[in-house]
């Protein structure tokens, strides 16, 4: 089993961290894993994206030309990556910033990730909202593992930030749960 995930958004939306959390969690679940970032001009501007592969066997290219699933946080990223999702793939789209999602045969989930983060008081936590929603949607990693990683990712002297991230993660779970999924309560 190999899962190829593309996570894309604007610089500053935290797509790199989102990908790292997924990768780290998968590693802790004893998988082979790669994480590959792509930046704009040297560092800034434009879209940022990262590619995460989770597999039971050794991974060749960390580069993904056709993804099993995607997290799309803004419109330019949608336009850039919409052709790279498998037909039966799963796509989580940030409906706060991507209005239309035309011509996609994958299973699209459109959720207002940024709005949700905004409401929680930290627009930068949209990535954690996305994380919660994404693992609820796909079940690729256990939310318990994800939560552990989220905690370890922030230095313990910033308990406020950890709290915010966890809240955002849970909000993502419940957003995703609303129509079809449920967020594991023991997460």
């Amino acid at each position: 089993m190999t899962d190829k995930i593309i996570i894309a958004g604007a610089g500053g939306q935290g797509v790199m961290l989102l990908g790292k959390v997924i990768a780290e969690a998968a590693m802790r679940e004893k998988k082979f894993v790669t994480w590959l970032p792509a930046y704009g001009a040297e560092v800034r501007g434009g879209t940022a994206n990262c590619m995460v592969i989770i597999s039971d066997e050794e991974i060749g290219s960390p580069y993904i030309s056709l993804a099993d699933s995607m997290v799309i946080l803004n419109e330019p990223s949608f336009l850039r990556f919409k052709s790279k999702i498998k037909n039966n793939g799963a796509m989580l789209v940030n409906s706060s910033l991507v209005k239309d999602v035309p011509g996609i045969s994958a299973a699209v989930r459109s959720l207002p990730l940024t709005d949700a983060a905004f409401k929680l008081g930290n627009i930068k936590a949209a990535n954690m909202v996305a994380l919660g929603a994404f693992i609820s949607q796909t079940g690729l990693i256990k939310s318990r593992t994800a939560l552990a990683v989220i905690k370890d990712a922030v230095s313990p002297d910033k308990p406020e930030l950890i709290k915010q991230n966890i809240a955002a993660f849970k909000e993502g779970c419940s957003l995703a749960a609303q129509p079809k999924d449920r967020c594991p309560k023991n997460g």
Binding site: A10, L73, N74, E75, P76, S96, L97, T114
Partner: protein, 67 residues
């Protein structure tokens, strides 16, 4: 007597204009633009002095001033 226009799609929401307007006529917009950030909007009517301070500091050349 004066007014400004703001190109909200080019606006990056740095809020530098907000800080320099002596009359506080520029405010954050609630809605996000396509870049995914909150741009600013002009809320002055008559009060705008056409002083151009907002336009001068805007790094993204979003503001034009009319008098």
């Amino acid at each position: 007597m004066a007014k400004i226009t703001i190109d909200q799609e080019k606006c990056k929401g740095c809020f530098l204009c907000v800080g320099v307007c002596p009359k506080g006529l520029i405010k954050a917009e609630k809605a996000l633009n396509k870049k995914g950030i909150n741009p600013v909007k002009f809320e002055g009517k008559e009060e705008c002095a056409g002083c151009c301070l907002c336009a001068v500091i805007c790094p993204d050349c979003c503001i034009e001033v009319y008098k």
